[in-house]
C-alpha cells in the first residue's frame, strides 16, 4: 500500500444513503426473492423448516438445501411472509419485530438493528420493487462458483470502463458491471452471470466466447488479456465445464465450520490427500496452516473436491457416500481407518451428509468506541486505540490484530495490545495509520481491515528549535460572538483547503484552539493545500500542472520533513513547468522579469539579470525582499488583509534565520487576534476549496486528480461559481457513489433537512429554514436531489 496514499486518507464517515429503489403499493415478489429470501435462507430457515426447532406450522419455510430456490418454493415463502406483515407498516409487522426481538421470539434477536437485513425487510414491507432474476440459476452453470471464483477475474481483466465496463464503445455490447471497490452487490453478480453465460456453452471449450476472445483465439479488440497457461483461465474453464460451489444440496456453511477442519486435518496431510502425486492426489484436500486456518480459496477447493458433481464424494442423505465409507473402512482405502464410526468427527460428517445446516459465519465488524474518527494527541503519551465498538453477529469472542501501516520517517513507533483496546507509542509527531483486523476464530470470520488514523501533534526538541522563537502572540480572547464553529470551519478551509466532516466538526468544536490548529498543521493535507496554493499563484495549472504522483510525493516529502517549504518553492520556480508556462525558452529576458516580480515584486536590475539561470533564483530567495514578500503573502492569504510592514519585517527576519519556520509562522497567524477578528468577514471559497468541497460533500470521498483539476479549473473560469458548482453538483449527484435517498424513503423529512444542512453548510438550520424546506418537498419537483443542489449553489456554500 502506498504510504503517500495512506497519508492523504482521513477518517470520514460517508453519509448513509440507501440505494435508489422504486416503490409500489404492495409487497413485491421479485424484491422478496432477491433481498429478503436470502436472509430467510441464511438466518431463519435453520429453525423455521421441517427439521428445525420452531414448530413448522408457525411460519413454515421452504428449504433449498444450498441450491437456489425454485419458483414454487419462492412463491410459498413469499405467501407465508406476506401473512406476517402489514404492508407499509414495518413497525406493525411481525416478520420484522420477531427477529429484532421487539416481540417475544423463541429464536431471540437474529437481525441486527440498523443492518442491511433490517433495511431490506423494511423496504420490502414498504413496497420496494425488484427486478425479475434472469438466467443462470439452476442451469448448467453454477452461480455460486461464478460469484466466488469467476467474478473477480472478469472484474480485473474485462470490466474496465474502456472495455466491457463502459456503456459506450465496442465493448459495451457485452457489458460487465464493475465492482465497487472489489465488492459486488447481488444484483450485479446476477447481471454479470447472465451476460457471461450467454457467451458460454456448457462443457464446450471451443464454442465459448468467454474463453476464446480474451485469449485471442477469436478476434478481440482488447487483444489477449488472458494467457491459457494462467490460473485465471483455468478457473474460467472450470466454470464452463460446470464446476459448482452449490454443493448439490449439502450445506456449505456447515461444511466450512465443522466438516472441513476435520477432513483437512485428518485427510489433507501431504502424504495422503494433501499431496500432489500418489493415489490420494486424485482427491486433493488442503490442510490447514500452522494456526489451523484455511484461506477462502482452500475452503472453496475442498468443498468442490468433496461435492464435485462429476465424482461426488458426498451425496445428500446417502450412507454410501465415499466420505463416509472410505475413512471408516467401509470401502477399500489405502490410508486405512481414519475416522472410527464412534468418533465425534465421524458423527459430524454423517450429520452433514444427512442435511445438517449451520448459519454462515459472518465476519465481525470493526468499529471505534467513543467518538471515533481521526485521533489526535500531543507527543509524549501513548495514544489509546479503542475498538470497543466492534461487533460480531454471532457474538463470538474477538481477537484483534494491529499493524502499523504508516509512520513518519525515523519514528520509533509501535502498537501494543491484542484486544479491543491497545495503544500507540511513538517518539515523533506526524500522521500514523494503523490497520486493525478482528477475527472470531471461525472460517470466514476475519473482518475487513479497518484503518485508524492518529495525528500526533507537537514537535521534537530539534524541530522546535529549528523554527525559532514565536513572533506573533496567540489571541487570548474568545472567538467573536462565541461562535467556535466559525473558527473551526475557517481553520479547516484555510489550512486543509476543505471543510471538516461532520465527525471532525463535532470533535473540533470542543477542542482547545491551539490543539485544534496544531493538529491541522500537522497533517499531510496542509502541505498538499499549501502546494495547490503555490500552483495557483505561479499559474502552474492545467497543461502546466505537475503529475499527480509528483504532487503526492512532494506532499509526503514535506510532511516527513525530508525538505522544507522554501526549498520546495525554489524547485517550483526552477521547474520546466514554470519555465514553459512563462515562455522562458523563447524569451528569457521577459521570463526573468516575471520570475523576479513573483519572487520579490519588482523588476531585476541589470546586474541581477546578468546572473541568469537557477543561480538567480537561489540568489533572490536569499534576500530580505523575498522573505518580506513571502511573509506578506502568507499573512494576506490567511487574514485577508495586509500585515503591517513592521510585522512583515520581523517575520522575514525569522524566516531568513530559521527557514523551517514557514509552517510555524502560518500556525501563529491562525492563532492570532487579527485572524480571530477576520472571522467576521466572510471569505469566498477559492476554486481549489470548492473543488474539494463538492466532491467530498456529495460523494463522501476526496476528489481524484482529474476530478480535482477539471473542477477547480472550471470553478476559476467563472466569477459566478454558484452556476458552475450547480452543474458540477448535478453531474456528481447522478453518480452511484452519491447514494441519494428518494423522497419516499427519507423517513423523517425534517431530520433529513437538518442533517443535510449540517453536512453541507456545517451549521444547524433555523426552524424557519427547516419548515420552508420540508414544505417545499410537497411539490413533486422538489426532491432530495434538488434540495442538495439548492444548498451547494447557495451563496452560503460558496463562502467560509
Amino acid at each position: 500500500m502506498k504510504r503517500w496514499l495512506l497519508a492523504l486518507l482521513l477518517m470520514g464517515i460517508a453519509p448513509v444513503w440507501s440505494q435508489e429503489r422504486k416503490f409500489g403499493d404492495k409487497p413485491d415478489l421479485n424484491f422478496f426473492a432477491e433481498f429478503v429470501q436470502p436472509t430467510f435462507r441464511d438466518v431463519c430457515s435453520t429453525c423455521h423448516s421441517q427439521n428445525g426447532n420452531a414448530a413448522f406450522g408457525r411460519f413454515p419455510m421452504q428449504q433449498s438445501f444450498g441450491s437456489p430456490y425454485t419458483d414454487e418454493q419462492t412463491q410459498k415463502n413469499f405467501e407465508e411472509a406476506v401473512r406476517r406483515i402489514r404492508p407499509k407498516d414495518p413497525n406493525g409487522s411481525l416478520l420484522l419485530n420477531k427477529p429484532l426481538a421487539k416481540v417475544t421470539h423463541g429464536g431471540g434477536q437474529q437481525v441486527r438493528e440498523g443492518g442491511k437485513d433490517q433495511k431490506n425487510f423494511i423496504d420490502w414491507i414498504n413496497g420496494a420493487i425488484g427486478t425479475k432474476a434472469s438466467g443462470g440459476a439452476g442451469g448448467p452453470f453454477d452461480l455460486a462458483f461464478f460469484e466466488s471464483r469467476v467474478a473477480a477475474i472478469l472484474d480485473k481483466k474485462c470490466a474496465i470502463k474502456a472495455c466491457h465496463g463502459g456503456t459506450t464503445g465496442a465493448g459495451a455490447a457485452f457489458h460487465l458491471e464493475p465492482s465497487a471497490n472489489g465488492r459486488f452487490a447481488p444484483e450485479v453478480i446476477k447481471a454479470n452471470f447472465t451476460e457471461v453465460t450467454k457467451r458460454a456453452k456448457p462443457k464446450d471449450l471451443n464454442a465459448s466466447l468467454v474463453l476464446l476472445k480474451p485469449t485471442g483465439d477469436r478476434t478481440h479488440e482488447g487483444g489477449t488479456v488472458l494467457q491459457k497457461a494462467s490460473q485465471d483461465f483455468g478457473i474460467l474453464v472450470e466454470f464452463v465445464n460446470g464446476a459448482s460451489l452449490s454443493g448439490g444440496g449439502l450445506d456449505r456453511a456447515f461444511f466450512d465450520q465443522f466438516v472441513n477442519p476435520i477432513l483437512g486435518r485428518t485427510c489433507g496431510v501431504s502424504a495422503c490427500h494433501g499431496g500432489s502425486d500418489g493415489i490420494g492426489a486424485r482427491f486433493h484436500l488442503h490442510a490447514p496452516n500452522e494456526v489451523g486456518k484455511f484461506s477462502q480459496k482452500q475452503l472453496d477447493d475442498n468443498f468442490m473436491a468433496v461435492t464435485n458433481p462429476a465424482l461426488p464424494r458426498a451425496k445428500p442423505s446417502d450412507p454410501q457416500s465415499l466420505v463416509l465409507l472410505k475413512p471408516t473402512g467401509g470401502a477399500p482405502h489405502v490410508g486405512g481407518i481414519k475416522l472410527p464410526k464412534t468418533s465425534k468427527e465421524y458423527q459430524t460428517v454423517l450429520a452433514w451428509v444427512n442435511g445438517a445446516r449451520a448459519r454462515p459465519n459472518r465476519p465481525p465488524i470493526v468499529a471505534q468506541g467513543g467518538v471515533g474518527g481521526v485521533l489526535e494527541q500531543r507527543l509524549g503519551a501513548p495514544v489509546p486505540l479503542d475498538l470497543s465498538g466492534s461487533s460480531d453477529t454471532e457474538n463470538d469472542t474477538l481477537s484483534f490484530e494491529y499493524k502499523l501501516m504508516m509512520a513518519p520517517r525515523g519514528a520509533r513507533a509501535e502498537v501494543r495490545g491484542t484486544g479491543a483496546r491497545a495503544a500507540l507509542t511513538t517518539d515523533r509527531p506526524g500522521a500514523y495509520v494503523i490497520s486493525v483486523t478482528a477475527s472470531d476464530g471461525k472460517p470466514g470470520g476475519e473482518s475487513d481491515p479497518y484503518k485508524v488514523t492518529v495525528i500526533v501533534t507537537g514537535a521534537t526538541t530539534e524541530e522546535a528549535a529549528a523554527v525559532g522563537p514565536r513572533t506573533i502572540p496567540a489571541a487570548t480572547t474568545e472567538v467573536p460572538g462565541g461562535r467556535r464553529e466559525l473558527f473551526v470551519r475557517r481553520a479547516y478551509f484555510e489550512v486543509l483547503g476543505r471543510g471538516p466532516t461532520i465527525e471532525e466538526f463535532a470533535l473540533a468544536v470542543g477542542q482547545p484552539r491551539d490543539q485544534l490548529v496544531a493538529g491541522l498543521f500537522n497533517r499531510p493535507e496542509y502541505y498538499r493545500h499549501w502546494l495547490e496554493e503555490q500552483f495557483q499563484l505561479l499559474g502552474l495549472t492545467g497543461s502546466h500542472r505537475f503529475s499527480a504522483d509528483l504532487v503526492q510525493g512532494a506532499t509526503l516529502g514535506l510532511f516527513n520533513r525530508d525538505y522544507g517549504q522554501l526549498p520546495t518553492l525554489y524547485t517550483l520556480f526552477t521547474s520546466k513547468q514554470y519555465v514553459d508556462r512563462n515562455f522562458g525558452a523563447v524569451n528569457p529576458r521577459d521570463f526573468f522579469m516575471t520570475l523576479f516580480q513573483q519572487l520579490v515584486g519588482r523588476d531585476p536590475t541589470d546586474t541581477e539579470l546578468r546572473n541568469v539561470g537557477p543561480q538567480l533564483v537561489q540568489h533572490v530567495m536569499a534576500t530580505p525582499e523575498f522573505y518580506v514578500r513571502y511573509a506578506h503573502r502568507s499573512y494576506r492569504r490567511l487574514v485577508g488583509a495586509d500585515a503591517s510592514n513592521e510585522l512583515a519585517v520581523k517575520l522575514a527576519e525569522r524566516l531568513s534565520r530559521f527557514p523551517a519556520a514557514a509552517q510555524a509562522i502560518e500556525q501563529e497567524i491562525v492563532l492570532s487576534a487579527d485572524y480571530l477578528n477576520s472571522l467576521t468577514r466572510p471569505k469566498p471559497k477559492t476554486s481549489v476549496m470548492l473543488a474539494e468541497s463538492l466532491v467530498r460533500d456529495l460523494l463522501g470521498r476526496a476528489p481524484n486528480e482529474s476530478e480535482f483539476d477539471a473542477a477547480q479549473t472550471a470553478l476559476g473560469a467563472s466569477q459566478d461559481q454558484g452556476a458552475v458548482a450547480l452543474l458540477i453538483g448535478r453531474a456528481l449527484l447522478g453518480s452511484a457513489d452519491a447514494n441519494l435517498p428518494t423522497k419516499a424513503n427519507l423517513g423523517d423529512r425534517a431530520k433529513w433537512v437538518r442533517d443535510t444542512f449540517v453536512r453541507l453548510l456545517r451549521r444547524e438550520p433555523t426552524a424557519k429554514e427547516v419548515g420552508a424546506f420540508v414544505e417545499a418537498m410537497n411539490e413533486a419537483v422538489v426532491t432530495p436531489r434538488l434540495i442538495i443542489e439548492a444548498l451547494i449553489s447557495s451563496p452560503e456554500y460558496l463562502i467560509y
Binding site: M593, Q719, R763, L786, L798
Partner: protein
Amino acid sequence: MTVRRDFLRIAAGWMSMSSGSAVPQAAAGRVQRVVLVLFGGGVAFNDVFPRLNSTTKKFDTTRDFAGKNIFKLFCEGTGVRFDSPMIGHHAALATILTGAMHPPEFRGSERPRRPTLMEYLRKQRNLDAGQIWMCVGGDSAEALLSHSTHAQYGARFGANLLNPRGLFGGQLAQTLEKHGKADSPSAAEATALAKLRAAVDGTPATNVFGNESTTQQKLTKLIADTMVGRRLPITGPAASDVWALRLATEVLKQFKPTLLAVVLTAADVGHISYRQYASVIEANDTEIGELVKVIDGDAQFKDSTAIFICPDFGRESSPSATGGKDHAANDPNVAASWLVARGAAIAKGAQPAQAMRTIDVCPTICALLGARAEHAEGRVVTELVAAG
C-alpha cells in the same frame, strides 16, 4: 476604397477637455451599451490594417489584409492614434481597464488596486452583475482583471467573468460524464431552486460577488448547453480567443449587458511565429465581424451600442531571430498603437487633439455610460463623441 480622413493626421478644431468631464449633453442617454474588445497580446497597426501609402496617405485595400472587419468599423466610425507604452501585457490591460498607469512589474498574479470601469459602472449606476460581463481568452492572469482590490469597490462590484478555456476545454465535460449528466435545471426546477436558495437564511456576504437568480439560471443554461453541445472544436493558436469572442456574442444576445468586455491574448504567439500571429488576427477579426453583425442586426443594439477595439500595445516592425515579432519597450512601433471606435454617439472620423492614451479608455467609456472614473488618471476624450 478611399477614406475620408487619415487617422495619423491630427485634426484641428477639437479642444481636449479636462479629465473627469462629462460627455456633451447631447450624447447623454444615446449610448446604452458598450462593447470593448481588448485585442491583447501585442497587435501592431500594420498587421491589422491595409497598407498605408505614406505619400498619398491612402489605404491600399486591393491587397489582402488581416483585419477586414476592424477596418470596416474604422471606416464607419473612427480610428485614432493610441499611445500604449510597452509595460507588459497584464499591466497594459490593467491600465486600460482602470484608467490608471500600472508599472511593468505588475504582472499576472495580482488584481489591480484601483477600480476597473466595470466596478465604476456597477456601483455608480447600481447595476447588477448581469449587466456587466467580461470574457477572457487567456488564463488565470486575465481573470484577475475582473475586479480590483479597492476597499470601496472590489469583488462585489466586479464583472461577470467567463473564461471559456476553463469551461469548454473538454476536460470538465469528460470528467463529469463519468458520473452523470451536467445538464441545466428545467424551468420548474430552476424556479424551485431559486425559492429554496432564498429560504436559506445564512448571513449574507456583502463583500463577495453574486448574480441575481435569473441571471444565474440563464448562465447555468448557457454553460451547460455550450459544454454539452460543443466541446472546444476549434484548434490552432487562436482557439481560446475565438471561443472568448463567440461566448461574448452569446452573452450579448442573452443578457443584453450594459458593458461587454472581451480580453484576448493569443496574439502573443507572435514571439514564436509571424504566421501564427497573423492567423490569430485574422481569426479574431472574423469573430469580431460576427459580433458586429449581431449588434447591427438587432434593433435593440444597433443605434445604442458603441464598440471600442484596441490592443494592449503594438509590435516591432522587424522580425525577431525566431521569425516572429517581439514587442521591445524601446521600439517606437510598439508604443504607437491604434484604437477603433464606432457606433452610438461616436463621431465619425473624429480625431482627438492629442493622441489618445491607454489611461483614457476607462474614463471615456464610463462617461458615455453615465459614470465617473473617479480614481483614474486619464481624461474623457470628448472629441470622440458626436454632437447629437
